[in-house]
């Protein structure tokens, strides 16, 4: 073989070999993220994903401190005026003028199902790993089920019949197949089943100070009692007596496990005292905020504060704050201890109205940025 012809064949050979390494070459995965399908390998992975479910509760579009728009403002208690900077969408909630296109409503709906989705992933993923102690798996699953039930309870009360999803949906076909409204009786049945697993689990009755914010058995009982109460008043009245009896059972269970004597022994202000949030025995379930932290603090105290006021927060605030309707102001009877703690009249010229004051954090740690630690839920 001559020199030139060997170069000729070498060239062709190079072309061919380079062409044949194609399949692996085109497989690229995200270096910054692990595939969901490969995530669950140890029990700690389950715990961290369970924390992810708790994290979902912090979403202000869901049931965290921004959710007053979907509940409290829907009542006659608080609201907002239809001024221009609020014009249109949020205002539709308290005006009972919700249009289907309302984006806040859609965001709320999405957030609730995001929380459920995370719980479903944990429940499925927790089956795939081995545990040092057999109770651990059941406890993690009980926590996820409590949160799933809590959110379905929100959905079923706000929308009635809603899609009922209890496992991860990983393809669009699965999503399509599950996108239909399930009868609310079935949704309630799922909520009751989940909460029954919680109260039969080995979770502690109440959480230690270091674990506040996690689900306890008392929380399971209390929520199940509330669920039965709601079922008694909104579902088939033939079952009313039975549902009320169940409600009594579980609420009594919760109350009998209390760590205090009578409710009146706990001053009203203590319930909202940020320095007592881990020790207040009345709190059943809470979302914990970290005082002074830019990311994990609460801003509800500062957000509610009207212009010119300092009672909620050291933050200088503008606007009307968390507006209280005249209806609620009049509802307080004379001498009601709660009135002066909960609402206040702001005299600034752009306000001249009542605002919410029961959430307060004027500590220097929360500071002028309003990074409070107020208790949610």
């Amino acid at each position: 073989m001559t020199y030139t012809s060997s170069i000729r064949y070498l060239f062709l050979l190079t072309l061919l070999t380079l062409g044949s390494c194609s399949q692996d070459f085109l497989v690229e995965t995200n270096p910054n993220a692990i595939a969901t399908a490969e995530y669950y390998t140890t029990e700690n992975d389950v715990l961290l994903a369970l924390n992810g479910v708790y994290n979902a509760l912090r979403d202000n579009n869901g049931i965290a401190e921004g959710s007053g728009l979907f509940s409290e403002e829907r009542s006659d208690n608080t609201g907002r005026n239809d001024n221009q900077s609020n014009a249109g969408e949020p205002f539709q909630f308290n005006a009972f003028a919700l249009l289907p296109s309302n984006s806040y409503l859609q965001t709320h709906w999405t957030s609730l199902y995001q929380t459920i989705t995370r719980a479903n992933y944990v429940l499925a993923g927790s089956e795939n790993v081995t545990y040092a102690k057999s109770d651990t798996k059941a406890q993690y699953q009980a926590e996820a089920k409590f949160i799933r039930a809590l959110i379905y309870f929100q959905l079923v009360r706000k929308w009635g019949d809603v899609p009922l999803v209890t496992k991860p949906l990983t393809t669009t076909d699965e999503v399509m197949a599950n996108t239909f409204r399930e009868k609310k009786e079935k949704v309630y049945a799922q909520i009751v089943a989940d909460l029954t697993d919680v109260i039969n689990s080995t979770l502690p009755d109440s959480r230690s100070a270091a674990d506040k914010g996690r689900v306890s058995k008392v929380a399971g009982n209390a929520l199940l009692g509330q669920v039965y109460l709601t079922m008694a008043t909104t579902l088939d009245q033939a079952n009313r007596a039975a549902n009320l009896a169940q409600a009594k059972t579980f609420l009594t269970n919760a109350y009998s496990k209390r760590t205090f004597g009578l409710l009146k022994e706990i001053p009203y202000a203590d319930v909202f005292d940020v320095s007592k949030k881990t020790t207040n025995p009345e709190a059943i379930f809470q979302i914990v905020y970290k005082q002074g932290d830019i990311n994990y603090s609460s801003s509800i105290a500062a957000n509610n504060q009207a212009q010119g006021e300092t009672i909620n927060s050291l933050k200088t605030t503008t606007g009307v704050g968390g507006n209280v309707t005249p209806d609620l102001v009049k509802d307080y009877e004379d001498g009601d201890l709660r009135k002066d703690f909960s609402i206040k009249y702001a005299n600034a010229s752009v306000v001249k109205d009542y605002f919410i004051t029961k959430f307060r954090d004027v500590s220097s740690t929360a500071g002028t940025s309003g990074y409070g630690a107020t208790i949610g839920c």
């Binding site: 000729r8 070459f25 994290n55 969408e89 296109s101 999405t110 669009t172 949030k277 752009v350």
Partner: protein, 710 residues
Amino acid sequence: MQEGRFNQGPILGALIYAPIFRARDENGNLVKNEMAAQQPVYGYQTIENPVAVAEETNITRKGLRGTFNGTASYEIIPGLVAKANLGLQTYNEKYEYYLPTSLSSGNNPPYSPQAIAAATASALTLSTQNLLAEFTATYAKQFGKHRLNGLVGYTVQKTNLDQISVSAQGFQTNAVQEITAKGADPTNFFLNLPSTAGSGVPNTTTSLATSSIGFTGTGKQEETLLSYLARAEYNYDDRYYLTAAFRTDGSSRFGPLNRWGNFPSLSAGWTISNEPFYADWLGAASTLKLRGSWGLTGNYNVGNYNYLQTMNSPTGAVFGSGTIQTAFYSGPIKDQKLGWESTSQYNLGLDVGLFNNRLLLIANAYLSDSYNLLFNQPISAISGTTSILTNLRNSKIRNKGIEFQIDGRAVSTQDFKLNLSGNISLNRNKVLNMGGANTILVAGAERSYITHITQEGQPVGMFYGFKVIGMVRQKDVDNLAADNAVYNAATQSFPTGYVLKGPARSTASTNPLRPGDLIFQDVNGDGVVNDADKQVIGSPYPKFTYGFSVNASYKAFDANASFNGVYGSQVLDGQDYYLFNMEGSGNQYSVVADRYRSEDQPGNGQVFRASRGGTQSNSTRLSTFYLQNGSYLRCTNITLGYNLPASVLTKVRVSGLRLYANVNNAFTFTKYKGYNPEVDYNNGANLAPGVDYGKYPLARGYNIGARITF
């Protein structure tokens, strides 16, 4: 400089900052916090002096690009050439941002605790490498009047990206505007992550810092592209041309099931003027050529890793008295079948050269259909997300259009030359089949109200809302009262069969209709205006676009001017949310003076009444009121030049010296009230075109220069 809302950038701020406030005092110092400080009393928008924002916010971006290439070719047998080309392109960037303590934060003055807390420095470094290897073999052969060219080859491409973006806070002074001057608290320094919706943590750790390639936050990416290609060209006697090509591309952006796409194409040309029978049919030395082609092309313009569901970057949950524990959760579901979008396009063209090619005419017509559209399809929220990037199977979007171009050397003498050219193009876009997807509604401006619709039978991304059909006047008041008497406010409806006497009311506001409010068209005639009465109210697409230029030279002087324009498009001016709010919180368009005030002062009949509270006309109820004519004619460039005569040049020993002056974007004729009718707040998001919102205006540039050749 940043764009968007006035708390981010000075552009919208400059529009809304009330003109009664000063930019500088009599000593030339910037005046700050003047308008914002009076927010508590008058309810002004809390806007900082936009001049101060522009001057004191410090933003720099430095890029360094490197290109390295090596080529080798080898003729294996006569006519057959093998060629290898290896290339490496690198791009490194440093972006820095500093928001000082010396600007207001909301209505809090400079250097207040709030302004100090808001001060932020961001630093972003980006490094990219793009490796490309091309291996081709070409073969050329001529026998008689036949000419044949062939090419086969393949190309391999690998692109890496590595970006780190961090931010620092806690700045006490502005002496050092670097991330190193951060405060002591650990939370004063943080990594910027790509934004993830619904993370349950406020958005403080998501910086606006984006590298110029469009990647936000911190992370690495790698992608690969592999292509095989073949092409054959045949030409007979410079009369008949035929080309056939085929390529197959594989991209790492797509899922394992559809990584590869096949893209054939065919084209043919016929130079009629080279035929014996042509015989200078269009005059002496004229040319005439007919072209036609069909081809399939692929689109893979989507982000990386969109086929694989992954866990999101860890976030946190808080327990006990404030212990933050790491939290993981799965990112949204992905489509494993994700693959190429393809477009099939037919082209037909005619090239004519007349009068010895002094007049050239080019005509082109095309018809293209796009299939398997890559699209963020809305998906039921029960999936845990709101959309999924997928190919819309059976979807079809059609573009068809015609283009004409004419170039003429009008005068061509020794001393004086004049060249004129012009072009016009028309494009029509239509969604023929959504592939099973629902109508898509998109919120394309601020405040998340819906602005655009994409549906079958219409172009992509049309403006969507209420149609204004008039204004409520005093004469309507009695009729409105009569309607009110039978209106059921609880169900927001009228009894069946009731014939409305006055104008229809909007259910989106509880404030009743009053004289001076806009009347929206009640499309379904049920007496109330709600979501069911929204319709396509305008188009962001021009009826046609055009351009022309003039080139003239006389002896050593030359001048040229270029123009372009569009006709028939509309712009949604999102800034109207403020500039037409008539609540006394900021500057307004001057036409607001011509609003409805009373029956004696009804204004121009279009601008609705002023109100501090909400009315039925406000901008979150998007209507035709907020659409403006986007037609314009712009002079993009004027250049004047002078070439020094050769007699002078020889003395100074240079072979050429040209002096010139030019101006870019010299002037624009338009009725649009904002800065620039050619605007796209959503930066190319094709479902929400034609929105203006605090976008940086086009700069007018003046250049004076000299070009010397030795």
